[in-house]
Amino acid sequence: MQRRNLIKAFTLTASIAAMGMTWTVQAAETIKVGILHSLSGTMAISETSLKDMALMTIDEINAKGGVNGKQLEAVVVDPASNWPLFAEKGRQLLTQDKVDVVFGCWTSVSRKSVLPVFEELNGLLFYPVQYEGEEMSPNVFYTGAAPNQQAIPAVEYLMSEDGGAAKRYFLLGTDYVYPRTTNKILRAFLISKGVAEKDIEEVYTPFGHSDYQTIVANIKKFSAGGKTAVISTVNGDSNVPFYKELANQGLEATDVPVVAFSVGEEELRGIDTKPLVGHLAAWNYFQSVENPVNTEFVAKWKAYAKAKNLPGADKAVTNDPMEATYVGINMWAQAVEKAGTTEVDKVREALYGQTFAAPSGYTLTMDKTNHHLHKPVMIGEIQEDGQFSVVWETSSPVRAQPWSPFIEGNDKKPDYAVKSN
C-alpha cells in the first residue's frame, strides 16, 4: 500500500517534471526573430505597417511548419523614432533576447545607428527600404533599392520622349543624408548626360516642413525656362502639403511632372489623390502589378489586416518596403533551411545566390557578393484611387550598385561586403 502510494507519487512527480521539461524543450525549439521598427514618433506612419507585414510573414512560415522544423517567434521592440534608441534596442535584441536575425529600420540614420552594434556582435539585419547606397556591411542584407535601382532609371525616364523629355531638373528634398546623397549622385549623373549646371536647382526643406508656397512659386518660375521635371526626395508627411500646394497653384503633371522616391501607396492613403493624377513614383514594386503571386500577396495582407483588426484595415494597401520585408524574411527562412542552422556566418553564405518568386512578378536573386537584391525598376503614375499604374519598367531585374559610380572615389571600393570600421 505504502509502496504503491510511493510509486504513484513518483510517477506523478515524474510526469510533472516531464511536462515541465517538454515545455522547456518546446520553448528552446523556437527560432527567435527580432523586429525593430518604430511604432511611435514621426516614423510610425511608415514603419508600423512593416512590423505588421513581418508578423504576417512569420505567421505564414509557421503555418507551413516553420524553419528546420522549428517555429519562429517574433520579438517586437519599439525604438520610437529615436535614432540612438535603435542602437540600444538592437543590442537588447541580440544580447538579451538572443534573436537569430533582425528585420528593421527605415531611415538611413537609424540604420547607421544600429550598424556598429550588428558588426560588433556579428548579428544579422535585413533592411527593407530604398536608400542612398554608400554602404555594404557583411552583417546587413539590403532588400530595398540602391540608387541605380530607383533614382537613376527614374531620371532616365524623365529624359526620354515618353517621360516628357525634360531639360531642366528641380531637385527637392528633406534635409538629411538620404536626399543629400541621392541628389549628389543625380547631379553628377545629369551633368554626365549633358545637362548644364544652370538647369539644375537643388532645394532642401527641414523635416516636417509644411509651407510650400515659396518653393512651388520657384518651381513655376524655374519651369518657364524650359521643360522641367521635379525630382522629389521629400520624406514622410511633408508630401501632403507639397502636393496640395502644387495642385492649388495650378501646376499639373503634364506641365511639370514630379517623380517621388519616398511616396508609395501607404503615403497616398493620407492624401486626396485627385489633383495628383499623372505625377510619378519610382519603386521596385507596386500594389497594382498584375501577376498571380501579387494577387495572392495582396489578398493575404488584406485578410490579415482584417483578421488582426489593424487600423484602417478596410483600406489596407501594400507597398514596396512591405514587399521587401516579405521577400527578406522568406529568403532568410530559405537560407536557414539550406544551411540547416541559424548561425549567422553559415546563413550569410547560404543567402548568396538565394532566389525567391516575389510579388513584383520577378524571381529576385540575392547577389553572390554585394548583399543587395537584383530588382526590377518600375515607374508608376498616380491614379485617382491612390494606386499607381506602371508606365515603364525594366525588362529584367537590375543588379545593385551600392557604391554609385557617380560619386568620386567609389571605383576603388571592393564589390563585396567589408566591415565599416
Binding site: 506612419i45 515618353d162 509644411s210 509651407d211 512659386a217 502639403p241 492649388n248 503634364t254 508606365v391
Partner: protein, 523 residues
C-alpha cells in the same frame, strides 16, 4: 434624273467623309505611344469638329479597348463602341496614357475647341494654345485669327500666334510678334524673348532691340507678380501661425498656463473635421462640400469640452507651479497623441478639400492665389474679431480679464474664479480646435500634427507679448512675412534658423515682447 445623280453623289460624299474619320479612335487605340503622339500632332494641326468627342473622352480617361483592340468609350460604367456598333468581347481596359500624350491631347482638344460655338470655350482653348501651340499649327491659327468674331478670343489667339511667329521668315511679322509679347506678363514670354537676344538665333538687329525692350516690359510685369505673390504667401503663413497660436494666446497668454498640450487641441480639432467628413460621406454625401462649415462648431465644442475637463481634473491643482504645469501638460499631450494613434492608427487620415477650397484664382499670369489660403486668411481675421469681442464685450471676457489681472481682488468682488478659469481654458482650447479645422485644409492630419505647431505657437505668443491679443496678431503676421522674405534668399532651413536667432536677440532686448500690459497690477 439629276436628283438621283445628286443623291448618289451626296451619299457617296457622306460615305467618304464617314470613312475619313471612321478610323480615328481605332487608329489611336492600336498605335504605339510614339505613333499616338504623331497622330495627336497631326490632329491638332488639322482639327475636325467630329473628332472632339473622342479627344474629350481621351482627356477624361474614358477611352478603353477590349482584347480584340476595338475602341470603346466609357460613359457611367457602360462601354459604347467609339465607331460602329461593336459589342465588347470582354470588359474593355482603359487606355494607358503618359504625361507626354496627356499634354498633346490637351493641345489637340484646344485646337478642336477653336471650332465650337461657345466663345468661353474658344477663349480657354486659345489660352491653352498660348502655352502649347506647335509650329505645325501656324496655318490653323492664322486662319482662326482671320475668321474669329469675338474680340477677346481673337486677342488671345493673336498672342498664341505671336509665339509661333517669332521665327517667321518675314521681318515685319517677327517685329510685330516681339512687340506683342512685350504686352503680356507671361513667364513663358520671357524665355522666348531671351532666346531672341542671341545673334545666332535672331540675325536682325532691329528685332533684337525690340526684343530687349519687350523683355524689360515683361520682366517688370513679372516682378510685380512675384512681389504680390510673396506678400500673399507671407500673409497666408501669418494667418496660419495666428490660427495655431490664438488658442495659446488665451491659455498661456491670459491664464499663464504653460500649456504643452495646446498642439494636441489643434490635432483634436483636425480629427473632429475628419470625423465630420466621414459622417457626411456616410449619411449625406450630396452635401459633402459643406462639411468644413459643420466641422467648425463641432471642433470648437469637442476641444472646448476636453479643455475644460483637463482644467478641472489636472491643471487647476497646479496653478502657480509653472514647472509642474509644464510637465503635466506635456504628459497629457503624449497621452492624447497615443490615444489618437490607438483609435485612428498611426497613419495620417485623408481630409479632402471640398471643391470650393480647391484650386485657385489666376490674378496675373504668374500669380495664382489658392482658394484655401484666401479663405484661411479671412477665417483667421474672423476668429480674431470673435475672440476680441468675447474678451472685451461680454461678461465672461470681463471676468477673465479681472481674474488674470488680480485673482484675489476679483474673487473678493464675487467673481467665481474657478468657473472663470474653466471657461477661459475651454475657450482657448475651443479656439485651438477652430485652428485645427483650418490646418486640416492645408496640411496633414495625423497624431503628430500638434507637435509641428507647438513651437511656432509659443514663439508667436512670447514674441507678441504675454497677455495681449494684438501682440499675437502682429507677431504672427510679422513672422509670416519675415519668413517669406528670407526664404527665397537663403533657403527654408537657414531662414528658419535665422528667424529663431533674431527672436532670441529680440527677447533678450525686450523680454516683455512686442506689446506689454502696463500698470501696477502686472508684476
Amino acid at each position: 434624273m439629276p436628283t438621283v445623280v445628286t443623291r448618289i453623289l451626296l451619299s457617296l460624299l457622306l460615305l467618304l467623309s464617314l470613312a475619313a474619320h471612321a478610323g480615328d479612335a481605332q487608329d489611336f487605340v492600336t498605335a504605339n505611344p510614339a505613333k499616338q503622339a504623331s497622330l495627336l500632332e497631326r490632329w491638332s494641326a488639322a482639327p475636325d469638329a467630329a473628332r472632339l468627342p473622342l479627344l474629350e473622352a481621351l482627356q477624361q480617361g474614358r477611352v478603353a479597348a477590349d482584347s480584340a483592340k476595338t475602341a470603346f468609350i466609357e460613359t457611367a460604367g457602360n462601354y459604347q463602341a467609339a465607331e460602329g456598333e461593336a459589342q465588347p468581347l470582354d470588359t474593355p481596359k482603359k487606355l494607358r496614357l503618359n504625361n507626354r500624350l496627356r499634354g498633346l491631347i490637351a493641345t489637340a482638344v484646344a485646337s478642336h475647341q477653336l471650332l465650337v460655338d461657345d466663345p468661353v470655350l474658344r477663349l480657354a482653348a486659345a489660352q491653352q494654345l498660348q502655352k502649347s501651340a506647335k509650329p505645325a499649327q501656324l496655318q490653323l491659327l492664322n486662319a482662326q485669327v482671320a475668321s474669329e468674331t469675338d474680340d477677346a478670343v481673337r486677342d488671345a489667339l493673336t498672342l498664341a500666334l505671336a509665339n509661333l511667329q517669332l521665327v517667321d521668315s518675314d521681318l515685319a511679322v517677327r517685329l510685330a510678334a516681339v512687340r506683342l509679347l512685350g504686352e503680356t506678363g507671361d513667364p513663358l514670354a520671357r524665355t522666348r524673348l531671351e532666346t531672341l537676344l542671341d545673334p545666332a538665333v535672331e540675325s536682325d538687329p532691329t528685332v533684337r532691340t525690340a526684343a530687349e525692350t519687350s523683355l524689360a516690359q515683361v520682366k517688370r510685369k513679372l516682378l510685380i507678380g512675384e512681389l504680390l505673390g510673396q506678400a500673399f504667401s507671407g500673409l497666408s503663413l501669418g494667418s496660419i501661425l495666428l490660427l495655431a497660436a490664438l488658442g495659446l494666446a488665451i491659455t498661456f497668454g491670459l491664464l499663464g498656463v504653460i500649456n504643452m498640450a495646446h498642439g494636441e487641441m489643434l490635432m483634436l480639432g483636425a480629427y473632429s473635421t475628419y470625423m465630420v467628413q466621414v459622417l457626411f460621406q456616410r449619411f449625406a454625401p450630396e452635401a459633402l462640400a459643406l462639411y468644413p462649415l459643420v466641422a467648425l462648431p463641432v471642433a470648437f465644442f469637442v476641444t472646448a469640452a476636453i479643455g475644460m475637463a483637463l482644467e478641472r481634473t489636472v491643471i487647476r491643482h497646479l496653478y502657480g507651479r509653472p514647472l509642474e504645469t509644464l510637465l503635466a501638460t506635456w504628459g497629457i499631450s503624449l497621452i492624447l497623441i497615443q490615444l489618437v494613434r490607438v483609435i485612428f492608427g498611426a497613419q495620417n487620415v485623408e481630409v479632402a478639400n471640398p471643391y470650393w477650397l480647391s484650386g485657385g484664382i489666376q490674378v496675373l499670369p504668374n500669380l495664382v492665389l489658392p482658394y484655401n489660403r484666401i479663405v484661411i486668411i479671412g477665417f483667421a481675421l474672423f476668429v480674431v474679431v470673435l475672440t476680441w469681442l468675447l474678451l472685451n464685450k461680454t461678461r465672461l471676457g470681463l471676468n477673465v480679464r479681472a481674474v488674470t489681472q488680480n485673482r484675489n481682488m476679483a474673487a473678493c468682488c464675487g467673481v467665481p474664479t474657478g468657473r472663470v478659469d474653466m471657461l477661459a481654458f475651454g475657450l482657448g482650447s475651443g479656439i485651438a480646435g477652430l485652428g485645427g479645422v483650418a490646418l486640416s485644409q492645408i496640411g496633414n492630419v495625423g497624431p503628430d500634427l500638434g507637435q509641428s505647431y507647438i513651437i511656432d505657437s509659443f514663439l508667436v505668443v512670447v514674441l507678441g507679448g504675454v497677455g495681449q491679443l494684438a501682440g499675437s496678431v502682429m507677431a504672427a503676421f510679422g513672422l509670416g512675412i519675415a519668413n517669406k522674405i528670407l526664404e527665397p534668399q537663403i533657403g527654408a532651413v537657414l531662414g528658419k534658423i535665422l528667424i529663431l536667432a533674431l527672436i532670441i536677440l529680440f527677447i533678450q532686448k525686450r523680454p516683455q515682447g512686442l506689446f506689454a500690459l502696463k500698470g501696477r497690477v502686472i508684476d
